[in-house]
Amino acid sequence: MNTKQTIAGAGLAIGLGLIAIASVIGFDTMQMQVPPSYARVGPQIFPYIIAIGLAATGAHIAWKSYRGGDEVIDEVEPTDWKSVGIIVAGLIAHMNLLKPLGFVPAGVILFLSVAFAFGSRRYGRDAIVGFLLVLLAYVGFTYGLGLQLPPGILKGLL
């Protein structure tokens, strides 16, 4: 019984989410200043069509879920939100630490968070593998190809 309610809830949420995206597109498009053009079809027509399409699809999905249809299914096993959260945290940490700490430390943090989320508890192995992999990527791309990866705290060392 509970699962069924969640299913309907998820479908409703997704449908309403699509309608929300459609309204953002519609609203943004209304604000545009349109220069004259010979095309008659300006930069606003396609966004409006897409917004209307999204709103209609969203409404369809929401309505069917509300009516108890199987429009959105969730028959897979229950989601382990903790693991998802750990990777999300790792990605957020990575993008914020990349410039201040540098590519290598930020990369190792991301690697460790993913490994942990996937259930690994062999911290030593993970840290060593992660460090070597990230270091190799950094050195290879910086010196081999001249990419500009942020050195961060290792500036001058590498």
Partner: protein, 494 residues
């Protein structure tokens, strides 16, 4: 037969030890960068330009050509094994290829991709050698009206990917179209859906969306399901290489993929992605096993992989014959020609025939090298799958973020990747197909721009789409693709 003699001279140039070495360097480097999303042949050649300035131009171009082909090989490997397309041309490969890999048929998928790429690359190079003038004429026939009709035809391919629920497939397509709206409107220079962020003005890169939906979304989804997380993947089930049955099902898609890919590459606004969509669609329509599509059909790997490699050969037709770059990589190659004070176009063939024919000959050699390098490694590559999942996905995310960051050295792209990754996770969790989203993102902006360009040139007269003969033919084909199956179904029921 002039071309034939010139080609033989070209082989004499390309087969010198030093040029063979450059070719080897190119294909190896190309394979490596192809594996990485975001770092493609265009960026690599741009970064190598200053280094190669003092090289002999023939050697440098032989290396660049190897690099271009090699990147396509490398990116199909990661598409199949890791569900992470390295280049946008191998997005379709991931759809069927990764399912095959998870069923223990990764080696077969890799083999059909490698052999298909070889077949397409070689046939494409043959077409480049002998049929270039025809395709040059074809390329110039396409104006904005014709492109728009072509895009409409390409949109029909989405139907092959909609999956079980039409409304979910359409929602994914529309989401991709919405992603494509973000950025500066190309016809008026006005910002759309930018919300005041200057970083959004350049639009959302296809690489960000492809990596976000496939690699990041997949990693989040795998982590969220404890049974998937701990599952052991069997790298090889059955025979290592392709079975007789798999050969039989692959060779026609290779040829059809080549026939689709080559002309598209030669079109100034063609690209490597669209022929892979068309090829996938065509194979799904023609196969005797339609039920296998989405569950690991080998035709769905063989066709698109041939198509993207043939497109690479096609790109070289207008580049060498007209000096007309039709892809980002071709534009950089053009800059490389200019660095050596060479001007591509008809004058190049007469003025620097050693270089041109050496380059074309090196394409044949590069293809052989790639096949020889890749086939024996197939067994080794699939063992990537036996790496414990925590380390494998850790590595995938490290390299995904590396590639996306280096698109424009901006952490803003990492934020976009993160957002798209979350969307990809939700789509996977609720069984929304992700491929239509990518198709929408790629085709939407092209279709819109060509539509408005055509109308601007005709001063607002919409009849151009049907009065231009080529455009009318393409529109009729698109309509047939949709209508014919419906009629057939009706007829069957009656």
């Amino acid at each position: 037969m002039d071309s034939f003699l010139a080609l033989m001279n070209g082989f004499a140039t390309a087969l010198t030890p030093i040029n063979l070495m450059w070719s080897l360097v190119g294909v190896t480097l190309g394979t490596l960068i192809g594996i990485l999303p975001g770092i493609g042949p265009a960026l690599t050649i741009a970064l190598l330009l200053p280094v190669t300035r003092n090289l002999d131009p023939t050697g440098a171009f032989i290396m660049f050509a190897g690099l271009y082909y090699g990147a396509m090989y490398g990116s199909s490997t990661t598409s199949i094994l890791l569900n992470t397309p390295g280049e946008s041309g191998s997005i379709m490969t991931a759809v069927e290829g990764n399912v095959m890999a998870k069923q223990g048929r990764g080696a077969a998928a890799l083999s059909t991709a490698a052999i298909g790429s070889f077949v397409a690359g070689t046939l494409g190079t043959l077409a480049l050698t002998f049929l270039a003038p025809i395709f040059v004429k074809l390329a110039l026939l396409f104006g904005p009206a014709e492109y728009f009709s072509l895009m409409i035809m390409a949109f029909t391919t989405v139907s092959a990917l909609l999956g079980a629920s039409i409304s979910r497939g359409v929602a994914a397509l529309l989401l991709g179209l919405a992603f494509g709206l973000v950025g500066t409107d190309i016809l008026t220079g006005q910002p759309r859906l930018v919300f005041g962020y200057p970083s959004l003005l350049r639009g959302i890169d296809i690489v960000v969306v492809a990596v976000g939906l496939f690699a990041v979304g997949e990693a989040l989804f795998m982590a969220s399901q404890s049974s998937l997380r701990t599952a052991e993947i069997l790298p090889i089930k059955g025979s290592l290489f392709m079975t007789r049955e798999e050969w039989r099902r692959s060779w026609k898609p290779w040829l059809r993929g080549t026939a689709l890919g080559f002309p598209f590459g030669a079109l100034p606004a063609g690209g490597t992605e669209i022929p892979t969509f068309l090829s996938y669609f065509l194979e799904k329509k023609l196969t005797k096993h339609p039920e296998e599509f989405g569950r690991g059909a080998i035709e769905g790997v063989a066709g698109p992989e041939a198509a993207n490699n043939a497109a690479v050969a096609g790109v070289l037709v207008p580049l060498l014959a007209l000096g007309l770059p039709t892809s980002a990589t071709a534009a950089i190659l053009l800059a490389a020609f200019e660095q050596y004070n060479l001007q591509p176009g008809p004058l190049l063939f007469s003025g620097s025939s050693t270089l041109v024919w050496g380059l074309i000959a090196s394409l044949y050699i590069g293809n052989v090298m790639l096949l020889v390098l890749n086939l024996p490694l197939v067994g080794l590559w699939v063992r990537l799958l036996s790496i414990p999942q925590p380390l494998l996905y850790g590595g995938i995310l490290v390299f995904s973020t590396l590639g996306v960051y280096s698109l424009s050295n901006s952490t803003f792209d990492l934020l976009l990747l993160f957002i798209v990754g979350i969307i990809g996770f939700l789509m996977r969790r609720h069984e929304f197909p992700v491929a239509p989203c990518i198709i929408g993102l790629i085709l939407g902006p092209l279709a819109e721009a060509q539509f408005r360009r055509a109308l601007s040139i005709s001063q607002g007269d919409p009849s151009v789409f049907v009065t231009h003969p080529l455009s009318a033919v393409l529109l009729a084909l698109a309509a047939a693709v949709i209508i014919v199956p419906i009629i057939l179904r009706r007829v069957k029921h009656v």
